[in-house]
Each structure stands twice: as structure tokens, then as C-alpha cells.
Subunit: 235 residues, 2 copies
DNA sequence: CGTGTGATTGACGCCTGTCAACGTCTGTGG
DNA sequence: CCACAGACGTTGACAGGCGTCAATCACACG
């Protein structure tokens, strides 16, 4: 982790557009710029760990972070991805609990450390900011409820279709419909709650049915209607 | 649903002790008592439905409400139970979305309808109240994250053990260790994300291993250490 | 007393996790 | 430049878990 103490001008302008910062006054934002620390993290670096104390939230300025929980035998289940503009690690701050997930960088990221006292101060003084945070958690909750249904009632094949469609929504595809997020097979497996071997087999099935195409760690979505049909969207 | 327009004195005193109301000033509470409507609901009555508009939150004054999502073929997955003092249905208010779960009474309940405008007014003016709501959502989130792990990585047997232990925490057991919450087999199945037949088989297994005893819809927990061992607590 | 719903048990077959073997790729050190 | 180790990806074989279907029993209710 490399510290970047002075937020460059570019980043400031850039950052100011994120929903989280749009609800802040210029004065509050200036305060944040002064007291927050910006750091760059390489792929694979762990931001915070499940069951550890967490002394601040982070805003993802660039890159991608995966949040997962560890199960038995170190098997991980990815619960969500955070990208530009997303706030992570605030739940444990608010409940004053240990972190309930691990956050790990999967695409080189720049993170802004958001000290706890500032978070509380903003929530207390700025109703807009408060509602932003609350709405954020509520929306995450909705997603998570959907995830439970997906994992509990769908088969691997349907889960994979569902996850691919969700990834398409959350991360862009290029003009060839290639998902702009490289994922290892193990990560795809962790997303759908399956063994890596099963995930591979499902991917191969989809490829042989011309629903997707595989280009290393990139996935090209060929037949979106088929994915929708398979995932049987009723979430 | 029977309306009970005047909250009786007993209920007022009773209700005032709930965490949600403790953070309210007397003045705010008086306002609530005046504008809120109290209603009694029989077992089986649906408070609000998934994918429907929801014009207010509810506080459970007595009884038990299950919150579930429907999957394919009307199969339901129970996400959580709400009992005395719990606030339900506020998420859709806050995000201004359709309800993402269905809430159904499983033990005759008295509910207090909490109008949306009052909820927002309280959140805006009373920081304590605001933090109560936020903390509530964050804690639910933590539970839900745990549920994902449970459903995605544990086998039926482990899931059942896990759920039984959770139910013990959330609902009391009497002096004979009998869970004070009658559940149909179908509901138990919906809790662990399994077919009713599978749930029954697992329950029978546990009984023949002297881990639990079955008394109609009531479950007597005989061997808590065994349950803990089976559930393999790493959540 | 018939009817409907829930509970229970057995039979069967698919899904999927596990183990094992092998190919592929990358980085490291000789 | 090559050899090698290690991580990742892929495929096959196999068995156990669990969903589905069907039959039977228990019980409440009109």
C-alpha cells in the first residue's frame, strides 16, 4: 500500500462528482480533503479483514474491490464488488462491530480513507449525507436479499446466468459485449457459490451453447436473451 | 385485519420501552400515538407484499411476522422474523422502491402503522432516532451476510443446526428447552432453503440422534453442543 | 363422514462437490 | 536460454446430497 498524501487536483475534480460527495457542501468537502488519506493498492492487497477491527470507511476512487466472507476450508463467497464512488467498510463503524467481510483489491485501486469521526460528524450535520448513507445500505440490503434467493433456490446454471447479467449491469461491457472485469475461475465460482470445477463446467456448457465466449479471464456475452431465460428472472 | 384506533394505556407503557421508542422524545412519541394506527392481524394475514408499493413502515407490538421472498414455483425463502419492537417495511420507504419481501403474520400480531412522513420527520430532527434506524439496517445486513454464507456453503444438515441455534437466540426457549415458536415443516424448509421432504428427513435424523425432540410444531433442543458442532460455526 | 392440508417415508435420478490427472502459463533461478 | 516449480485451468470418474414424485398416514373442519 502506497500512501498518496496530497490528492491531486485532477482527482479532486474527478472525485467531487461521485454521489457520495455531491451531497457534501464545499466546506465539508474541503475538510475531508484535509483530513482524509489517499492510498493506492495493488491487486491482491487486503483493505480490511473479516473479524478485525476497522477504524474507518473507504471510498473507492478507482479500481475494483471484492467483498467476501470466508467459509469452511477457507472457501470464499463474494458478496459484492465495489467500484468508483462506492463506500465500503462503514457498517462496522456504525455498529461498532468487527468487520463482517474481507475487502480485497482485484483491480489496482486508489482508496480514500474516511475517518470515523468525520463520517459521524457529517451524518449528524448534513441530512442529505445521512440519507445518502442510509439509502446506500438499504439498496445493498435489497441486493443481498436477492442474492439469498439466487443462492438458495437456483441451480448452478441459473446462478451463473444471473451473476453474468448482474455483472453486465454493474460493470460495463465494451462494444463487443465483453465484460470489462477480468475474473479468475475461482472468483466466478465464489460468486455463484460453487466449486471451481463446477463453475468451469458451467462456463464450458454456456460456451458450447454459444451463449458466451471465453477469452482468458474475460467473458463475452453473446446471447443475453438466453441468459435472461436461464436465470429465470423472478428476483 | 382489525383496526384498533385507540392505543390502550397498557400498550403505551409497554411500547415505550422498545428501543425504537426510547430514542424518541415524549413530544415525538405523543405525536406518533396521535397519528399512528394500531391494528391486529390474525396468523396468515399478509402485511405487505413483495413487488407492491408500501406506504408506511410497521412496528411489531406483539406477535411474530415472517419476511420472505418468493422464488420460482411460489417457493418461499424466509429471510428473517420480526417480533416485539422490530421495525419492518421501512426499507422500501427509504429507497422509494417496491417492497422486496413479503411480510406475513405467523403468530397473531398487533402492528403499529408508522406513516412515512413521520419517519422522515423523526430521522431529520432526531439524530438518536436516525442512528437507531441506520444501526438497525446495518445489523440486519450483517445477519443477511451470514445467511448467504450459511445457504451457499453449508449442507442441509449444517444449515438446520445453524438455523435452530439462531432461533434459540432470537426466540426464547422454555425451561424444557422447547423453542417458543411453532413452525410448520414447510416453514422450516423455507428457512434452510430446502424441500419440505428434505427438512423432515433432517429433523428425523436429528431426533433419532437425540439432538432434538419433536412435539408437533414445537422443537425441543436436547443437545446444544452437538448442534454447535454440526453447524460448524464459522460465521 | 368426506375432504383437504400437512407430515412422513420410500424410490429414483440429477446436480454438484471431491479427487485425481493433465495441460497451460508465468516467473524464477541456474 | 532452459529447467523447474507453482498457480491456474480443464476434463473425467465417482459418490453422496437433495429435489421430485408418489403413496400413505394423521388430523382438522365443514
Amino acid at each position: 500500500m502506497k500512501r498518496v498524501k496530497i490528492i491531486t487536483f485532477i482527482e479532486q475534480r474527478h472525485v467531487r462528482c461521485f454521489g457520495l460527495f455531491k451531497v457534501m457542501t464545499d466546506r465539508e468537502y474541503a475538510l475531508l480533503v484535509n483530513s482524509a488519506v489517499c492510498s493506492s493498492h495493488k491487486k491482491g492487497s487486503v483493505v480490511y479483514k473479516e473479524a478485525c477491527v476497522n477504524n474507518g470507511a473507504y471510498v473507492v476512487l478507482s479500481g475494483v474491490v471484492k467483498q467476501y466472507k470466508l467459509g469452511t476450508k477457507e472457501k470464499q463467497h463474494i458478496i459484492r464488488f465495489a467500484k468508483r464512488g462506492d463506500l465500503i467498510g462503514f457498517r462496522s463503524l456504525i455498529t461498532n462491530n468487527l468487520a463482517c467481510t474481507t475487502s480485497e483489491v482485484i483491480e489496482d485501486a486508489v482508496l480514500l480513507h474516511f475517518p470515523g469521526h468525520l463520517l459521524f460528524r457529517l451524518m449528524k450535520n448534513n441530512f442529505q449525507f445521512y440519507m445518502f448513507v442510509l439509502r446506500h445500505v438499504c439498496l445493498e440490503m435489497k441486493e443481498t436479499n436477492g442474492l439469498i434467493m439466487c443462492v438458495s433456490q437456483k441451480r448452478g446454471r441459473e446462478r451463473l446466468a444471473h451473476v453474468l447479467l448482474q455483472l453486465k449491469e454493474r460493470f460495463d461491457v465494451d462494444r463487443h459485449n465483453v465484460l470489462q472485469l477480468p475474473l479468475s475461475r475461482r472468483e466466478i465460482a465464489s460468486l455463484i457459490g460453487a466449486a471451481p470445477e463446477s463453475a468451469i463446467r458451467l462456463l464450458s456448457d454456456f460456451r458450447s451453447e454459444n451463449i458466451i465466449d471465453l477469452q482468458g479471464r474475460f467473458i463475452k456475452l453473446l446471447d443475453l436473451p438466453a441468459l435472461a431465460r436461464i436465470s429465470n428472472v423472478s428476483l
